[in-house]
């Protein structure tokens, strides 16, 4: 039933990271947001197989920030790949993928295995890289123009994510590095778009790469990609402004709409199309288990029971939240275990029970409760609003909190330097089933705000990475998740739903957000604009 | 003769600077440039001259409110420059000043009582409240004001009354010398006389000495024993009142006297007048030779080059003019 696509037009997209501009353009700066900004330009070995999206009758929504279902991964620059032996992976590159000419940077040329080798080597040599990130590899080789061999030291569950489609896997030609990779004016790659203009804090403009190799099958016919001439990613800090831009058609797609704004937008712009998704950022109030009284599990569990999470879901979020979606996300098929099948020790934590909470506190030696400080980022409107509510619940069991809002930098720094307060309200991306456990509950990790330090657990995490069999790995991770949730290092909080909205004239798009790690390039390459409909609707 | 004040070759120069951060001196205003005179105890010396000729500056230097660039000022035979500490305080007590503008010289936010008592407090002579009260009443009475006025603010008084308050304040410390800087210029003619009479009355009863600065020659004539005429930072003539008004020697003095209109039609129409050309030159670059030569109706070639010194003509009349040689 799909219309025949039309070429041309400009796609205006309101970014899902509305407040953060590109932090850096150099992949070797190892910035998490790089893929979002360069993902239209630099391609990777693997990417999401968008033909498996719901829109095309598949089962995936492609909204997770850094997780692709294993059966929905396809080769992007890689044409095929196979394990030569358990520790050797051979990747065959797609032929005739070309870098477009970029005056002052490079001539037009074909992508070769040298480029993959160069990119990998450059990332690995960076001073800013995540230490030990590539330690599971011994060597990467390029025996011929279209072949790359990855030699493993040991198996790693995240192998494809780490060098294939994750945050740090873009393939950049060496000419860009020579010209200066940090300068956006030099950025150029094989992707569907080329970077045309960057205005920090405002927008990034991409124009169509006429030489892009990929096609999309619509109505049984192959169409050369991308469809639109120009794509603009807007970072608009102010929420009201953002929503207004969508409402008046100045944005075709707004990747992120908070639930609070949805009703009004639906009313004032009824033609908008919507996709509702569960946030890939969990929220919680981390409790420092290395300090009193949170070294006592009873206290931690008591606080969990003292907070009426159902009420938060129902009243505070107006139903637009899920009680339990962290540290695993329901979309992580096989890794996620719903609350209903969890043991009671976990279920209990999500059931409002102030009586039991008081009892536990008394048992732990705090019958009168206590007071503790909670740091929160002043930049997070939602947390600033919710924290007083949590405070009110806790007060019912005699626990008082002192809220200390902090400016973003100071707030993050407190965690990084492990000087954060006993309470630390935070939002944390899941990333993927393995990383979500590693980064939060392994000793020494930056995002480990509760200072969880359990050598046994650390060992289990390390082990999980080496389990080759996915089923077994899933099982291990489910078990670990169950255990860590029950340990209540945090006051676990509901995960809100968020929304993506777009105008009906944006076709071949259904609210997909990421075709890799926060990478939207392949998605917007496929979207096209029905100019007639746009006119008909009066825009 | 008992000189209470002796001014010897007093010079007061002001540097003129320009620039924002790095100020540089672009010239000097020679506001007072070699002035000498003596003032005897109990005497009034009138100091007249046109605006800007340095009268106030001289007065301020005598008050030690401005540093002398050169020359000496001897008070009771002692050099002012050497006064420090206790002696300085004592000096501040013995010399007082009355100002021209009775509106600006009284702090509008202080009651008359506090204004008059302030000098007493500063010099630790206030004593208890009662004593102050008595003293203030006494002083008010002395200048012809009523005791109940002590509780009012200056703005509730007329100009003449304010000037009396100023005088009362000056009298509070029982000074021996009062420098009066144009104390009646701002007053209405009908009030001027009242204040002049207060001055004269006080001098008679308290034996004060006045340096009476004014530009109104008629008032000066009335109150002074001797009169000094200033022109552009110099004294051009100094003499007893009788001498000066009856037989002025300096052409400037003559011109000045003739320019003053007399309130009588016949005299006025009979009088012979010398109308000067031009205006007072700037003290930043005074003319060479005699400073008056450019405007002098009787200037001689010599006047362009030679600066005539102030010379005693024997009878106490001193004049700085080549014609008077």
């Amino acid at each position: 039933q799909a219309d025949a696509p039309k070429y041309g037009g400009t796609l205006e997209v309101g970014s899902v990271y509305p407040t953060i501009s590109a932090l850096s353009w150099d992949l070797a700066d190892w910035n998490w947001k790089q893929n979002y900004d360069t993902g239209q330009v630099y391609e990777q070995l693997f990417a999401a197989d968008l033909s498996k999206s719901r829109r095309n009758g598949g089962k995936y929504a492609f909204q997770a920030d850094a997780w692709l279902p294993p059966d929905a991964i396809r080769g992007e620059l890689a044409e095929s790949w196979k394990w030569i032996d358990p520790l050797t992976l051979e990747v065959k590159l797609r032929k005739n993928v070309r870098f477009p000419a970029k005056p002052g940077v490079m001539e037009e040329r074909e992508l070769t295995s040298e480029d993959v080798l160069f990119s990998y080597g450059r990332m690995n040599a960076s001073a800013k890289k995540i230490p030990s990130y590539y330690d599971y590899l011994t060597k990467v080789e390029a025996p011929d123009k279209y072949t790359v061999i990855f030699r493993f030291k040991e198996f790693n569950a995240e192998w494809d994510y780490r060098f294939g489609w994750g945050y740090y896997s873009g393939i950049m030609p060496k000419e860009v590095a020579t010209a200066g990779a940090a300068n956006w004016k030099n950025v150029t790659g094989t992707g569907p778009f080329t970077l045309n203009q960057f205005t920090q804090g405002n927008s990034t403009t991409y124009v169509k790469n006429a030489q892009y190799w990929d096609t999309d099958k619509i109505g049984g016919k192959d169409y050369k990609l991308p469809f639109v001439d120009k794509m603009v990613l807007r970072t608009v800090k102010d929420e009201a402004t953002r929503n207004t831009m969508l409402r008046t058609g100045k944005l075709d797609v707004l990747e992120l709409v908070r639930w609070t704004a949805v009703d009004e937008l639906k009313k004032s712009a009824p033609q908008l199309k919507w996709s509702k998704w569960l946030s890939y950022t969990g929220q919680y109030l981390a409790l420092r288990v290395d300090t009193k009284p949170f070294n006592d599990i009873r206290v931690r569990r008591a606080l969990n029971m003292a907070v009426n999470k159902q009420e938060i879901v129902k009243q505070y979020y107006g139903g637009n939240a899920e009680l339990f979606a962290y540290p695993q996300h329901p979309d992580y098929g096989g890794y996620f275990e719903p609350l209903s099948t969890m043991p009671d020790s976990v279920k209990e934590l999500f059931t409002y029970n102030p009586e039991k909470a008081k009892k536990l506190l008394a048992e732990a030696g705090y019958p009168k409760g206590f007071k503790f400080k909670v740091q929160v980022c002043a930049c997070n409107q939602d947390h600033m609003e919710m924290l007083p509510l949590i405070g009110a619940y806790l007060e019912q069991v005699g626990v008082k909190i002192e809220i200390q809002p902090m400016e973003y930098g100071a707030y993050l720094s407190a965690m990084t330097t492990k000087t954060n307060a006993p309470g630390y309200m935070m939002a944390n991306g899941h990333t993927n089933p393995t990383t979500t456990l590693r980064k939060s509950f392994v000793a020494g990790q930056v995002w480990n705000a509760s200072q969880w330090n359990d050598p046994a657990f650390t060992a289990r995490v390390d082990q999980a990475f080496q389990i080759r069999d996915e089923g077994k790995r899933q099982e291990a991770i489910r078990a670990m998740t169950r255990d860590i949730v029950a340990q209540a290092p945090y006051i676990w909080l509901p995960t809100p739903y968020v929304f993506t909205a777009w105008w009906p004239w944006v076709k071949n798009y259904d609210g997909e957000l990421r075709a890799g790690a926060v990478r939207s390039g392949p998605i917007y390459a496929r979207a096209w604009i029905d100019q007639e409909m746009k006119k008909k609707l009066g825009f | 003769m008992d000189p209470i004040l002796r001014v010897e070759n007093l010079k007061v120069h002001f540097p003129v600077t320009q620039g924002v951060l790095f100020k540089r001196q672009v010239g000097t205003v020679k506001a007072v440039d070699g002035v000498s005179f003596t003032l005897n105890r109990g005497e009034t010396l009138g100091l007249v001259g046109e605006s800007g000729c340095g009268k106030s500056t001289t007065g301020l230097a005598i008050m030690k409110m401005l540093p002398a660039s050169d020359g000496r000022i001897l008070f009771d035979g002692e050099d002012l420059a050497g006064f420090k500490g206790q002696r300085q305080k004592q000096f501040r007590r013995s010399v007082q000043m009355v100002y021209q503008d009775p509106f600006a010289s009284l702090n509008p936010r202080m009651k008359v009582r506090d204004l008059i008592a302030e000098p007493l407090e500063v010099h630790g002579m206030a004593g208890d409240r009662q004593a102050v009260q008595t003293r203030v009443s006494e002083l008010l009475d002395m200048v012809g004001l009523l005791p109940y006025m002590a509780d009012r603010y200056p703005h509730e008084f007329s100009g003449g009354q304010r000037q009396r308050i100023g005088i009362a304040r000056a009298l509070a410390l029982e000074p021996s010398l009062i420098v009066c800087d144009e104390p009646v210029s701002a007053l209405d003619v009908s009030i001027q006389a009242q204040v002049v009479n207060v001055f004269m009355e006080l001098q008679r009863t308290l034996g004060l000495s006045y340096l009476f600065i004014a530009h109104d020659l008629a008032v000066v004539r009335h109150i002074s024993d001797r009169v000094a005429v200033m022109y552009l930072g110099r004294i051009v003539e100094i003499a007893t009142r009788r001498q000066l008004y009856a037989s002025p020697l300096h052409p400037y003095t003559r011109a000045l006297l003739s320019a003053v209109p007399v309130a009588d039609v016949e005299t006025e129409r009979r009088r012979q007048r010398i109308v000067l050309k031009g205006e007072v030159p700037s003290p930043m670059n005074p003319p060479s030779g005699c400073r008056f030569h450019a405007r002098c109706p009787m200037a001689m070639p010599q006047c362009h080059n030679d600066d005539p010194p102030l010379r005693d003509r024997g009878d106490g009349q001193m004049v700085a003019c080549h014609l008077a040689e």
């Binding site: - | 009030i191 009242q194 530009h215 003053v260 209109p261 007399v262 039609v265």
Partner: protein
């Protein structure tokens, strides 16, 4: 005698102030004949300036208000003219010179422009023409190098020069009447003589009548043909200059003449001041304004303001007691 060019009849001007209504000018009547100089004397606040401003229609409204009266000038009642008609008279037929030469000129415009302005707007001559005229006028008021001086700004002029420029401005359209409001009060005596001589000569030459407002009786004696004495907003005496000085009739006029120190006066006698304060115009009450300070006052003076009566030819006096002394 010819018809007077200005006839002021029963002019009353009031101000609404914080403290009540001030009748600054109270039923004042006088004439000015062509070519003559009428002096208006009186102390500060007696209503001299307000009279002048009333004639030109420059009383700020509010708080001021011309309550009644008639001002006939060249056959028209100025109080009944439309604003545009009045503007055609201001600066053209009647010109005014103000007291403060320092502040009465616009600091942002060249002197030449300010002098040329009335010529330009009243005679509708091109700027260039008006400018040449301004140069001629500056020469007329004896400013050296007028051609370069027209380019100067007021701050580059000295006080005397500014007042000359003001005179030039006033003369620009050859008015029939010039009102000079204390034109020399802010200037030195030698400069005062220059300016007033100049003003008088130029006025005489062009047959312009002059209202000279001053509080200096000496100036009056020298320059005025007729004199009007004001006190507390009222005219108390009017006579020719000779008559006024020879036979001052009103007790205030007499007191005034007596209290001014004179260059030829007797210094052995103290000055005779007029006691008391200038009147508070908000609380004049009925009766003679001078009565609180008048040595001769009796009950009659409290009843009603004394009318101005002719006591001899052309000599008017407002005192009930005239016949008594």
């Amino acid at each position: 005698m010819t018809e007077p060019i200005l006839q002021v009849r029963d002019l009353t001007t009031r101000f609404r102030t914080d403290r009540g209504v001030v009748t600054a000018v109270d039923r004042v009547s006088f004439d000015v004949n062509a070519g003559e100089t009428l002096a208006i004397v009186g102390e500060s606040g007696s209503g001299k300036s307000v009279t002048a401003l009333s004639i030109l229609g420059l009383i700020p409204q509010p708080p001021g208000e011309i309550a009644s009266g008639e001002i006939r000038f060249e056959g028209k009642d100025l109080l009944r003219l439309k604003p545009a008609e009045m503007r055609a008279i201001r600066g053209n037929r009647i010109a005014m010179i103000f007291q403060e030469p320092m502040s009465s000129m616009n600091p942002a415009l060249t002197v030449g422009k300010q002098i040329a302005e009335p010529i330009r707007i009243h005679e509708h001559r091109p700027w260039r023409d008006a400018y040449d005229e301004a140069v001629a006028l500056l020469a007329q008021v004896q400013i050296p190098e007028p051609r370069s001086r027209v380019q100067a700004y007021p701050h580059q002029f000295s006080g005397g020069m500014r007042q000359r420029a003001m005179i030039a401005m006033a003369l620009a359209c050859k008015p029939k009447l010039i009102i000079a409001d204390e034109p020399t009060t802010a200037l030195d005596v030698t400069v005062q003589a220059q300016i007033l001589d100049l003003l008088k000569t130029l006025a005489q030459k062009s047959g312009t009548a002059l209202i000279l407002i001053t509080h200096d009786l000496g100036v009056v004696a020298r320059y005025a043909d007729r004199v009007a004495v004001m006190y507390g907003g009222r005219l108390v005496e009017m006579a020719s200059a000779e008559a006024l000085y020879r036979h001052p009739a009103h007790p205030y006029t007499r007191g005034l003449i007596a209290c001014v120190p004179r260059l030829d006066g007797d210094t052995s006698q103290p000055l005779v001041p007029i006691d008391g304060q200038p009147p508070d115009l908000t609380a004049l009450g009925q009766g003679c304004a001078f009565r609180p300070r008048c040595k001769l006052a009796n009950e009659t003076c409290d009843q009603a303001p004394p009318p101005l009566r002719e006591i001899s030819h052309q000599h008017l006096n407002a005192c009930f007691l005239h016949d008594a002394y």
